[in-house]
Symmetry: C2
Subunit: 497 residues, 2 copies
């Protein structure tokens, strides 16, 4: 008779985890396809496919064999990856046993249809088309939160899906002071006259030239088309990791800003690098996955906001832009930076400058928390949105399409996701400060278009560690300091005041 | 206590069937993505995803509950759809119980990788890159055939996957006389001087203009972009039915023939109509699916070869081509038909004229049958391919890329599939003859760009019947005659001699 050894148990646990990850990666193909290529009337059938896969995932998470293995391996982890595997699988098991499969499947079905309804509502600028779907999604998310823990608030519970382990209290301790610090900064900066060189961004440039520059920059950062895609499309910008060798970015162009595609691509490249640099040999085990949504966002914001608006980057990039676009020979690096480091309160989050950006997030946190409690009925959302924007940023959207319909997150059932954008901004500033301190040549290299020092630092300090630690702990270990507002505020003040 | 009624049993059976169809439709999304959008290094992971889904399908087919339901409903079918449901599900159960799940999964994995290897081998014109993969696929297909029935030849057994119920004997009774009848016809036609107007097809036309014409024609035939896609891409032309509201075509352009995209689109539109006109309320039940590969192909060939090379079609289409392409005002319908109804022995099947086409099929039938028996070792395939082409068509490919690497079917594990192309040609001619006899205004309508009479006849006689009958029976019922060579030969002789 063969003895079952400890390593047999680990092997079986990891095989179950990889099986689950394989199902999830099929969900990712379908999600990418939905956004990028599915014809509109395919949404009904797609919602059935997603419900099927959500049910399979639930069965993986809740399986008795998984429970038995986790029990047998209790206290037997050695080292961070094993600890993380057990912690994450145990959390999935607990969640799966509390939330009924029927609810998981209904959420998958309804959010697929709600996203299609949202796309149409936004295109037609008609909130009424989306309102019943939002009501439906909210009902299901409240039910999910209640199943998980009836004693805590829904928003507090749902945060945990995207930023595991983070409590509403910890979040408020960061976002409250951030809002307080940003409001006067934004007010001061918005009063200044707009910089002279700004019109340079509005010069018309062919989309194909913008796409060519974006691809050139992406390749310099580390993009490899044999194991990924970069599509410039009308779809919502995103990065979808399907599996080893297949990570796909979508960026978009904006008629009024000829650098929008470039910045969108830099943002998605941050996600792409993280997804591509987690260790492939750990693929499918929890510890080998990327960590929280906030940490993911930090990688994107680091490249987009901190590198993309820096002098070293533009020293290298401007000649390439001039070659790709043609006719920008009159523009200097100083003018470009002045044009890009503009601060302006606008009604749209995507494309907002880095100073006002976090206020967009704060508005959404307040609104989604009230939507979940029911204090804010769905029918009152358009009005409440306008009120919040007037208060926080002093602006008003021209339409619901540019207002409360601008983001697809709620349609997708993503509540408690927006705060991860602000966390990502804080973490990005702190990580970038630490990277430059650790690698004194980092900015010189960027000025030559050499991203290797930055890429390698991020790989060693963040990417290869998968999800062994959550955002707060990872930032602390990588930078030697707890996550704080200081690096972000320091960086903004240095560059904008 | 609630009694289990006959209708409860049917409902449960259909629910299991729909569940299986849903899994299969996820396979279809992945297959489309593989061909159209997946980056090359995603193939390894994709092969794991496909193996997972193949395993799930196998579990659906072989489930004990399915076996119990089929037994309980034995002899209880009333009407054709119920009979077909039982017949097809029983065949799936029998197959699934004979072929081990391990083999099914390995086939899914290996064929995904083999297709990637084939793409590279073809692009680099290097058969050696593909040879080990073909060996591997053949080994697995032989194993599959032996598991299904060790006493019959592998090719005979594998035919059944694509043309259920058709035996090698029935097939040979059709293809043998077809080859005998075609050889002298091809020889006579190839001796003629090429028609004068032929150069018109070689005039350079922008791809975007070709795509615009293809889309205009597709819409006239019945294409609706809200529930499908038409992509003009480098990928192998194909139609993939994902589910109700989502059927996708890929067509391609050929530099030397400005009508290639149009004909490719007509072909895929035949598939598209069939996939889109099966009854949506029966979706997921076997009787509600499209029938055999040969019947599917007949729909494609009917539009491409018989409508697309007819005077009524060009009476309507030529002014549209002139508008879309510009500069074709000197071309008449007669010239266009003369140019299109050329007969020429060429080494490439796709794009072959309708007279020589079936000889390409016959060559492949002979070769794949010998590959399966092992009489033809894989390493000797390039030479055998050249020999067969010299004998059958008197031509030789310039390279293996245009020779034995031109088709991806074997890489995908499709053995016994090629004969369905010839069956499709026979069925197309017989169905089109019957349609014109039944609808005397059909061709007048086509000359006005009105495809409704043809579309409706096909829907009523073929599409809505799903797979209640196989190819031979469906053609007999739809046309009143058993499938024969006569309509095809009559049509070729009328138009070419």
């Amino acid at each position: 008779m063969k003895m079952t050894t400890r390593s047999d148990l680990w092997e079986e646990l990891r095989a179950l985890a990889r099986h689950r990850a394989l199902v999830e990666s099929v969900v990712a193909v379908l999600a990418w396809d939905e956004e990028a290529t599915m014809p509109p009337r395919g949404a009904g059938h797609r919602s059935e496919q997603q419900a099927l896969l959500a049910g399979l995932l639930h069965q993986c998470d809740a399986s008795q064999r998984m429970a038995d293995l986790l029990e047998a391996l209790e206290g037997k982890a050695t080292g961070e990856p094993e600890l993380a595997d057990l912690r994450i699988l145990r959390a999935r098991l607990a969640r799966a046993r509390k939330v009924p499969e029927r609810l998981i499947e209904e959420l998958a079905r309804v959010t697929t249809l709600a996203q299609e309804a949202w796309r149409e509502a936004r295109a037609r600028d008609d909130f009424a088309l989306f309102a019943p779907w939002l009501d439906n999604v909210l009902r299901l998310k409240r039910e999910e939160a209640a199943a998980l823990d009836a004693r805590r608030g829904a928003w507090d519970i749902l945060l945990d899906e995207h930023e595991p382990g983070l409590t509403e209290r910890e979040l408020t301790a960061l976002l409250g002071p951030l809002e307080t610090a940003l409001r006067p900064l934004v007010a001061a900066l918005c009063e200044r006259p707009p910089p002279d060189g700004r019109a340079v961004l509005a010069r018309p440039v062919a989309e194909v030239a913008q796409a060519a520059l974006a691809l050139e920059v992406a390749k310099a950062v580390g993009f490899d088309g044999s194991c990924g895609r970069l599509d410039i499309a009308a779809a919502h910008p995103s990065t979808v990791a399907i599996g080893p060798g297949d990570v796909r970015m979508t960026a978009r162009s904006v008629a009024s800003d000829n650098t929008a595609t470039l910045f969108c691509t830099l943002h998605e490249m941050g996600h792409w690098l993280y997804d591509s640099q987690v260790p492939a040999d750990r693929w499918g085990t929890p510890a080998g996955e990327t960590s929280s949504a906030g940490l993911h966002e930090s990688q994107a914001r680091l490249l987009e906001a901190l590198v993309g608006r820096s002098r070293p980057f533009w020293t290298w990039c401007l000649p390439r832009l001039q070659r790709a676009y043609g006719g920008f020979d009159d523009v200097s690096v100083d003018q470009m930076l002045a044009a890009l480091c503009r601060v302006e309160a606008t009604p749209v989050r995507v494309g907002a400058d880095e100073v006002t950006y976090n206020l967009h997030v704060v508005v959404r946190c307040r609104l989604e928390s009230s939507l979940l409690t029911g204090d804010l009925p769905v029918r009152d959302l358009p009005g409440a949105w306008r009120d919040e924007y007037r208060r926080a940023l002093g602006v008003e959207a021209m339409s619901d399409g540019e207002g409360c319909l601008q983001d697809g997150h709620w349609a997708a059932g993503l509540f408690g996701y927006f705060p991860t954008y602000a966390l990502g901004n804080l973490a990005a500033a702190q990580l970038y400060e630490a990277a430059r301190a650790a690698e004194p040549n980092l900015e010189d290299a960027l000025a030559r278009g050499d991203f290797a020092p930055l890429r390698d630092w991020l790989r060693a300090r963040v990417h290869v560690h998968g999800s062994t630690l959550g955002l707060l702990e990872r930032v602390r270990v990588a930078t030697g300091e707890p996550l704080s507002l200081t690096p972000l505020l320091r960086s903004l003040e240095q560059r904008y005041l």
